[in-house]
Symmetry: D2
Subunit: 163 residues, 4 copies
């Protein structure tokens, strides 16, 4: 089996904070350094773009699952572009294709991805300063939601989940 490990980093686009983007860049770099493939929503903004830039800075391989049918608006740090033309319905593909999902920051799109990941029995790591989301997703699935404070902690949990 050649199948590579894909780690999904989900987070806000236009609504990302500077902390979210810094964390996403660091997550992308650490994922690449572990030899894993980074999967994101592929757009040229916010968490998606920052994670891809971080992964490429560490010579990683990056996959973007785009909501559109063409490369307008794509992050220039995406290697493999999957064009779905499905809008937010592609969020389900994002989580099904990720061995582990890391949510970096929070917003409506990210919330849908965390919920869809839990629906599909995926483990989710929340890296977010947003207390309501921690309480809500813990209430939905205490066993499969981990809460972390730093990218390094997130990667430690991914390693644990994959082993």
């Amino acid at each position: 089996m050649n199948r590579k490990i894909l780690i999904g980093v989900m987070g806000p686009g236009a609504g990302a904070s500077e902390v979210d983007r810094k964390n996403a860049y660091e997550l992308g770099k650490l994922i690449a350094q572990e030899g894993w493939v980074l999967l994101t929503g592929g757009r040229n903004m916010g968490v998606m773009d920052a994670a891809n830039q971080g992964a490429k800075a560490a010579n990683g391989l990056t996959v973007g699952i785009l909501p559109t049918d063409s490369d307008r608006g794509i992050s220039d740090a995406v290697d493999i572009a999957i064009f779905t033309d499905m809008g937010s319905a592609r969020n389900n593909i994002n989580v099904l294709s990720s061995d582990v999902v890391i949510a970096c920051g929070m917003g409506t799109g990210t919330a849908s991805e965390v919920a869809l990941a839990l629906k599909a029995n995926k483990s989710v790591i929340l890296l977010s300063e947003h207390p309501e989301s921690q309480q809500f997703f813990k209430s939905l699935s205490a066993a499969r939601v981990s809460i972390v404070q730093t990218p390094v902690d997130a990667i430690a949990i991914v390693k644990d989940l994959l082993s």
Copy 2:
């Protein structure tokens, strides 16, 4: 323009409580009495089935957007079955096709629908005893989330939103 008003009722399947099912039945009945079309996920369990049974008890018209490719597992109170064969990705179709979304109860699938509805700038009415979900979705979008205690209150807000 012949287009009818579709009101979506989203909620847990197997995980629905008795209160959820009772509320869903009542919502279905009230929606039908207003002359609106009921839209659900179409399955023969939980909130989906109860809402459809309520709507048919009041001679309403019901649409089910199924995750499957055939009518195995469909509620027998669905009039118009749309087979997507898309699993949970069909949740986005549910909310895009609803003029207003009512979440009756809470679970991972329902949470994804509320989040996708807010992402698409839809108004969402939460009828749920689940305080973490109220706080979380209010934190995502205070303006477009309404919290109600009864089906009658939900319908009053729908009327207000449609006018």
Copy 3:
């Protein structure tokens, strides 16, 4: 079981000929007269619009499965609008949700629908003056493809398939 029979009429939008549109109008009218629900791609052009207009002229019920996320470009003769925001991927939903598929005219989108219908083991009726499509689809599935010359003949075959 309340589930109604849905008959799909698929055909070109902007590329429809006058004969295609006339046949589609007649098909919509005959489908409504049989008490079946008409399903189309829902747009305000070509075969989709003509079939919906025909069905409404006979007081039928019409379902449109739109490629978009909103009602811009929708036929005003659609009663139940399902917004997929999935572009041409919605063609698979069109055929899975139709008890029988009638292709009225031919084009790239229609060809994809006929192929997807055959892939899903659906019966397809071709009403088209396009000899290459008859030969091609017959070569893919001789048993499940019927070729007809008139809307009346198409409806006769639908009745036969449903019985």
Copy 4:
């Protein structure tokens, strides 16, 4: 821009002939030797599996867009697995994500992919002994359909289209 070139090889699964599989293996090998990424439907049978095996024999990178939600039935020569859980609706993603589509052999699924590719204004290369498909797709779009007899000829046309 880091985006890599993806070449899609589409063809029958269980229904593939020995010639189809031999051609697919050769296509996969040649695509890898050009430094392009191979994209297929990802399953462990027919043209999909053969193309992936050929690409890996030449140390290529392979992407599989699966109809399922998990790796049951996946080709062991897929590097990057995208799980759509969308059945045949994923065929539209296959073609939108391919810079050029090569159809190797013919069947109902492959026919839907060729039609969807033409609908999306993609160029399609037909490598098939099936005269009805050549005539049909040429009749749909003479300008964007190329017919070839060998994998080497297919690759020559891809190079031409990309330049």
